[in-house]
Amino acid sequence: MPISHLSHWGLLVTGDPLLYGADASIILASVGIVFVLTYFKKWKWLWREWLTTVDHKRIGIMYLIAAVLMLFRAGTDALMMRTQLALPNQHFLGPEHYDQIFTTHGTIMIFFMAMPFIFALMNIAVPLQIGARDVAFPYLNAISFWLFFFGAMLLNLSFVIGGSPDAGWTSYAPLAGLHFDPGPGENFYLLSLQITGIGSIATGINFLATIFKMRAPGMTLMKMPLFTWSIVATNILIIFAFPALAVALALLLIDRIAGAHFFTIHAGGLPMMYINMFWIWGHPEVYIVLLPAFGVFSEVVATFSRKTIFGYKAMVSSMLVISVVSYFVWAHHFFTMGGGVSVNSFFAVASMLIGIPTGVKVFNWMFTMYRGRIRMKMPMLWTIAFIPCFVLGGASGMMLAVAPVDYQFHNSYFLVAHFHEMLIGGVVFGMFAALYYWWPKVFGFILDEKWGRWAFWFWNIGFYVCFEPQYALGLMGMQRRMYTYPSGMGWTALNFISTIGAFLMGIGFLVMAGGIVYSIFKGERDLTGDPWDGRTLEWSLPSPAPHYNFAVIPTITDRDQWWTLKEQGKQDTLRPRPEDIQPIHMPKNSAKPFLIGVAFFAAGFGFVFNWYVLAAAGLFCIVILLLVRSFEYHSDYHIPVDEVVHTETALGRL
């Protein structure tokens, strides 16, 4: 029987000074934002230029801001966990609280930090790299963003209203079922992820269509920049993996709110099926967030070594192989579930196989640097720092793939160390490289090197200090997800060191943020549009690019088009000639994507608390908004030639 839970909890989470602090700071921050916007009369601007935009570059910026904020939010969680674990038997956080914090840490880092970060990069770079004016479906792109945004809001809201999820980012049944976890926290988890997940699938479709159908004339598949290729591989994984997550979440939700028995202990439910479905998505997911980083490294390493990428074809094929093979390894997350000898053997060997194409990429990056001229700019520093970290993490991954070894390391801190090495050393470092690399293209100024270097060293040293001891803790038998541990196990010193490392990374983050603020005021302006002596099409445009990107769509003849033209001294071929300029067809801004986001949010919130009237109203609004869209026939306009000429002249390109 579905149970209405609200009766015995208050709506606001209370009872802990830490929570009062969080409640208060969130309310204060919201009031502050409203005040600033009103005071500076910025509401209209916000609505017109941002909330209703369908421009991929602006959507990219919004994803980027959200990702950085969420890194801070979930990073704060991490620091709280590390504080609690610094010493044995501490009571800084109780078990209830700690459980919520590691759950939201993992969930937010993956869904609301890593995912929007890669979406930001796709949006910022892909259309520019392939010579397109926008993505295939700009309106859908805006919907994806708002679904992500409101999904994130829903999850973050749980911290102050109703309570956060506390069954781990994997949310295994039956622990996450109604019987063992009656609070609304789990519902928040299920609905917020469902909502952003729909947005992610839409993004996957959108970018595959963009890349397959909207490349500039002459850009054959084998002339595409490697970042764009990495986005192809990523989105193949997204469209084939995310639906499995959608089903896993939906069925668990149906169990919880409609009393079904998919994953319950009684009436024939099979909790293992949830685990199975979660990882059908879950393993591909780690490559979804990693492959774009691979793309970034490929761009950066060639640019800053002033050399053609080594083994382009191997780079492309290894990414495609990775994206297919990573669909066949999911059971390595539950070698200890008793799948039997044949299941474990199959998935163990399949997991190891991924090391081969991955290794090929590592070697190709290194031999791109070989006989090059390596400029130690920020993007390159992050790329170089990535390799040892990733190789170590990959090595521990290979050990975990050895099923009998995993029997010992499963759910231990050895595993925690492995995946942070991949997620931070691989994904976050990649995102940072991209941040420094494309920042000038997006904002028109370069991020300061000096601040950047300080942040770099804090992050790197902090990283090793934090996570290498965790390998040792794993060898000492320390389990993950323990809110505290006894003294006398020999775990204390290493935990303490690990905590120090975490705070070093925290400082690194603050320095990085400081560097951004500094650069906004004092950073070097990028007047050429090509601050790094780049190789691909986006560097042929002014920084920031005009909203139609290319006044005239270029024709492509070479893989590193821009670099080749520069070598031949023919950069001017990529400048528009007045006689070629024609009216440019652009999509109009629309409020509906935002409203669809709001409607999803309302529906989600309704389901969380079993307020079915609200839920139904939300769903109804969604259908109506979609129908209205279906009747819309003039959702686009043309920029007249005069205006294009005017803009290009002002940019000094005519």
């Binding site: 084939f240 099979l270 059908i280 297919v324 008793g338 799948g339 039997g340 044949s342 299941v343």
Partner: protein, 112 residues
């Protein structure tokens, strides 16, 4: 807008069939295939295992009937019909999800 009725009919005849042969063949095939699997399923004409195998095979055939005779899966505006590749990959992953889940969930080969 340029979508005048003239231009519309002017292009229709280049490509479109005059008589819906594809559709009719597709319909007849789908009825035959379904009828056949019903016959097998409902009359115990074969052993369970064999019957299951055959009706699954017939269902797979129906995918192709719908794809080619109704959905025009090989059409595209220009360039190769990339959707074919996408759908094939999709089918591979469908088989993986269903097959491997069943395999994993039978919990065979436990320690003895």
């Amino acid at each position: 807008m340029l979508n005048t009725p003239e231009s519309r009919s002017g292009m229709g005849h280049h490509h479109a069939e005059r008589f819906p042969w594809k559709g009719i063949i597709g319909y007849v095939l789908s009825i035959i295939l379904t009828g056949f699997s019903m016959w097998i399923g409902l009359t115990h004409a074969a052993q369970f295992g064999t019957a299951l195998f055959v009706i699954l095979g017939l269902a797979v055939l129906q995918i192709f009937v719908q794809m080619f005779l109704f959905m025009h899966v090989t059409e595209s505006d220009e360039g190769p019909p990339w959707q074919v590749l996408g759908l094939l990959a999709g089918l591979l992953f469908v088989a993986t999800i269903v097959g491997m889940s069943m395999w994993i969930m039978t919990f065979n080969g436990q320690a003895s």
